[in-house]
Structures are given as structure tokens and as C-alpha cells.
């Protein structure tokens, strides 16, 4: 009994602990661009397109918006309004690591799924840089005043179409405009544990994007897309298809 008394202070410590009693944990979302499952290095590495043609990537960047966890009761827990994911500047090693965004102190428990917009919701896209606070990730994006839209996603690179080892054909794909946003729900339980970080891994497979459904995107015909809305919407659909949670 006398020994026990020495433990009292420590028991008191645990009981009087400052934080509230609810369990909270952190959530990290990790994004990796792949090509046929292999991480995409933006360092001149060639990837197979079709008919012995090759493509390489220089800039891969996109916004995701209205990021929410869906609770089992149908309500949702908001994580972030908008994040910019930049997968450029990667060699083979850093490409595999990808880029992450983290959210802290999320209520612990099981969630049904995670959902976000690939691109910007209309609400965000109708804002202009002048009206947005300086710390917003939107300020690191590009605003296209001609469209009245941010660029949601950028995939830039080059292609070697005549198989001579030189990438002479430019690929400049910019997706934007309210018609191009694609909300996507990624099913599967998300468990947030007390004082732990849960990581969800997302992969954007650019082979699916450019070769998807046995219907290759015609990079020869469409070298640069920044105004043709139907082609842009096709690309937005392809990118959404290529976006998966592992």
C-alpha cells in the first residue's frame, strides 16, 4: 500500500491530462505518378507509348479540392479545401516517394471512404487570385484570366514519335474550367487511430491516362490542349480513371 502511494502522482497525471478525452490521429495522403505501375521520373526517362513510340514527362501538377472523409452515418468530415500536388522534379528514387499532404488531429474512428475533387470545385474556381488569401495553395497555381479559371491539372512532356531517340514532339496538356472538375470517391475503410498517422496511397497511372481503355489519346494530333474543351474533358475523364487508391 505504501509503495502504491508513490504511483499516485503518475496516475493523477494520466487522469488530469490536458487534452480532451476524444481520440485523435493524423492522416497523410501520398500521391505517386506511375506509368504501367512504375513511378514516373521527370528526368528525361522514356516510357512506352504505342508502335515503338516513347513519351517522357517534365511537369505533373494538379489541384485536389473539397477533401473529405465520409462517416459511416452518411455525414462527412472535412479535411481541407484545396491542396496542390506537384510531382515534377523527380528522379527514380524521389518519384517512388511521391508527394504527401497531412491533416492533423482528425477524430479517431472508422470512416467509410475518402472523397475529393480532381481539379477545383466551382466555388473555389470562381474565386480570383486577388480575392484569395496569400497563404492559400491556390496562389501557387496558375490563373488563366482568358478562361476565368485556374489551371486544375498540368501534364507537360515530350514524345519521340519517329523512334530516333530524340523527343521532338511537345505535349502540353492543361485542364481547367468548371466543366473539367471531377469529384471522385475512393471506397474502402479509413481508420484513424489515437496518436497515430494513417497513410492512404494514391497512384495516378499515366499509361492509363494516355493509353486507357485500348483507346490511346492522340498525342500526335493534340500536341497542346488549353482551349479545346471537348478534348480537355476527355483528358479530365482519363485522368480521373487513372487516379486510384491502393
Amino acid at each position: 500500500m505504501k509503495k502504491f502511494i508513490y504511483l499516485l502522482p503518475f496516475i493523477a497525471l494520466t487522469i488530469f491530462s490536458c487534452g480532451d478525452d476524444d481520440a485523435v490521429g493524423d492522416l497523410e495522403l501520398n500521391f505517386v505518378a506511375t506509368y504501367d505501375g512504375q513511378p514516373v521520373a521527370t528526368d528525361g526517362t522514356f516510357y512506352d507509348y504505342q508502335n515503338d513510340q516513347k513519351i517522357q514527362f517534365e511537369n505533373i501538377r494538379f489541384f485536389i479540392a473539397e477533401i473529405e472523409l465520409e462517416n459511416n452515418d452518411g455525414s462527412s468530415t472535412s479535411l481541407s479545401e484545396v491542396e496542390l500536388i506537384n510531382l515534377s522534379g523527380k528522379d527514380a528514387v524521389t518519384a517512388a516517394e511521391g508527394e504527401s499532404v497531412s491533416f492533423e488531429e482528425i477524430k479517431g474512428g472508422d470512416y467509410k471512404s475518402i472523397t475529393f475533387h480532381i481539379g477545383l470545385s466551382e466555388r473555389l474556381n470562381n474565386l480570383k487570385p486577388a480575392d484569395i488569401e496569400a497563404t492559400s495553395p491556390l496562389q501557387d497555381g496558375t490563373y488563366w484570366s482568358g478562361w476565368g479559371s485556374f489551371i486544375f491539372s498540368t501534364v507537360e512532356g515530350k514524345a519521340d514519335l519517329d523512334n530516333d531517340g530524340i523527343a521532338e514532339h511537345n505535349m502540353v496538356y492543361h485542364i481547367g474550367g468548371n466543366q473539367s472538375v471531377r469529384p471522385k470517391t475512393f471506397a474502402g475503410e479509413v481508420e484513424i487511430k489515437n496518436n497515430k498517422t494513417t497513410t492512404l496511397n494514391f497512384e495516378i497511372d499515366l499509361k492509363d491516362m494516355f493509353m486507357g481503355n485500348g483507346q490511346p489519346f492522340d498525342i500526335e494530333k493534340f500536341s497542346a490542349i488549353h482551349t479545346e474543351t471537348d478534348v480537355m474533358e476527355d483528358l479530365a475523364d482519363r485522368m480521373t480513371e487513372a487516379f486510384n487508391r491502393n
Binding site: I5, Y6, F16, G44, E58, A134, T135, S145, I166, T227
Partner: protein, 374 residues
Amino acid sequence: MNRINKISFFVLVAIVALFCDSCKPDEVDPPPPTIGDLEGINYSPTPYELPRLIDFPPMLIPEDNPMTQEGVQLGRMLFFDPILSIDSSMSCSSCHLAEKAFADGQRFSRGVQGGITDRSSMAIMNVGFKRHGLFWDGRSATLEDQALLPVEDEIELHEDWPNVVEKFKRHPDYPTKFRAAFGITDKSEITKELAGKAIAQFERTMIVGAGSRYYEIFVLNEDLPSDEEQNGFLMFTDGARGSLPDAQCFHCHAAPLFTDRDFRNNGLDSVADVADFKDYGRGRVTNFANDNGKFAAPTLWNIELTAPYMHDGRFQTLEEVIDHYASGGHWSPNRDPLMDSISLDAEQKAELVSFLKTLTDTSFINNPDFQSPF
């Protein structure tokens, strides 16, 4: 209570008390007693309101360096004062001249002892809006950090900061000015970091655009463009949708800052391998080989005044710059995918130049607040 129980009780009370205390928000220590030689001087900084131009994003101001009239005034003095150089012969303004929109008109700049910089001086305009680092290669993260480098750069001012700080302390005005800007109580508290903060505050005020024809025509709609200016605008922004060539400029030089604040290779040099670039540029900072030969896309405000052009000042005129872009530049493995030959006839090239000249804002270079206070 027996002895042991008493001790335990006090230990418990002490620990609980300590713990509860740690739950309170951190208390700020009372300011140290003011005993310094400057404490008699009034310290009441006046906030500095930056002008907001239509369509411009808000500027990100570091929380530990709020803008004040007194800070800006001190920064301006430091910017123009040769006290920062080893032999009191040069200041920041020696390579950043008001009449050249704060570039210097030279291909490379001559430093304090005759050495030559390895890149061309940059125009200091709208630098407060930069988000991915200063310099052609983005190697300085903040204006506060950047301002410290020229002083100890062997080619530029070739002085030591401890020496400069001593000169400030002996100076008849600087101790008072540092007090007014940052509330120091004694001149021994003057540091290079405070000098960097003041210079950064001054540079954040150097906002350009409102006095340009571009702003009058395309933002305020208070004047009409000439046919040449209008065609140049349409080609620059790909606004003609096919009836005029798309010159692709505004991907990398996007309004309203006329830069996308990114690093790109705009085809200045032809190399077979990215290891062969003479100046690695961004690659020197990131150590990522594919960044070799990439440089910051500069703002095009006042571009008429900042010749020669590019990081090595290789082009003397805007006509040469347009010829370069029309050709698509030189191929290299990482030439930007946005670089492609553009078929522009002589008239269209001239129209692009007329459009670029609408970005000239002489009210900026003549602004009395940006001239030497000495």
C-alpha cells in the same frame, strides 16, 4: 499522516500543480528592463499599407517582419548607402538603378573591386510577389535572406557583416533608425538580420504596373489599344483563337505579374546532354540534373527598360528576343515543352514588341519613394 505519506502528498500536489500550470497558455516574459542608450527615443512604428492593384494577388508578408513606415525608410537608406561595401564605393543601387527599373543595363555587372558577376543583374520589381525564391536560380528563399548575400559576395560588395554592423553603430543616424523601425533599446542590438528585414520591407514596396498603358487599356478599360498593341496582346495571350498565331508567351509570363514564377529552359543553348550546360541555373540549387539550364521566367513589366535580356544578357533588343522565340530556340533534352517555332511575319513580330511596350511604367521608375534619400 505519517512521514512517508506526507512526502507523497506534497509530491503529488507539486506535480499536479506543475502539470496544471503547463495547461495554461504560454505566458510572455515581461520585456527586459530598458537600460539601453536608445530607450529615450520614442518607438511607435506606423503600419505601412501596400497599394493593391486590380487583379494582383495579395503579397505574403512574413509574420516576423510586418511592414512599417520606419522599416521601409530604413531599408531605403540601406539600399542606397555605400556603407555596405568594403571601400564605401558601391551600394545595392550601383547594380540596381532606378532608371533601368532597378536592373543595370549591363550584360554582367562590375563589383566593388572590378570583378564581374557571372549573371546579369535582375530588375527589382514586384519581388514581394515571388514565391519560389529569388535570383535567376531561386537560391534565396526570402528577400530577408537575399539582402544579406551581396554584402559578403566577393565580387559584389566584398565586405563583412560584423564590420558593417560596427559602422552602423558608430553612425550618427542608423542607431536611431533601427530603434524607430525595430524597437531595439541599445545600439548593441543592431544585427545584420535587422538590416536584411529593413531592406526586404523596402523591396516589398516596389510594386509596378499601375502607371502603365497596359493597366490603363486592359485592366481599367480607360483607353483603347492601337491595332498593333491589340494584335500583340492577342498573340501573347493566345486570345485570337486561330486568326493570329499563338506565341505561347503567357504560359510562362502570365498576367498580372507577367511571370508564372517557375523555372524553365526557354531554349537559349543547344546541348546534347543536360550535363553540358555552361550555367546549371536551377540545377545548381536542386542538384537535379533535369533542372540544369532552367532559369526563373522573369517579369516582363518595364521590359523596354531592362535590356540586355536573359540571365547572361545575350540579347540587346526586344526584336532579338522575339526572333529567338519565333525560332523555337535551341533544342536540348529539357527544352521546355512550351517552346516551339512560331510562324510570325515581320509585322507580327513588331506587334508583339508594341504590346510588350505597353508594360512600361515610368511612374514606377520616377516614384520619389524609390529614389536615393541621400
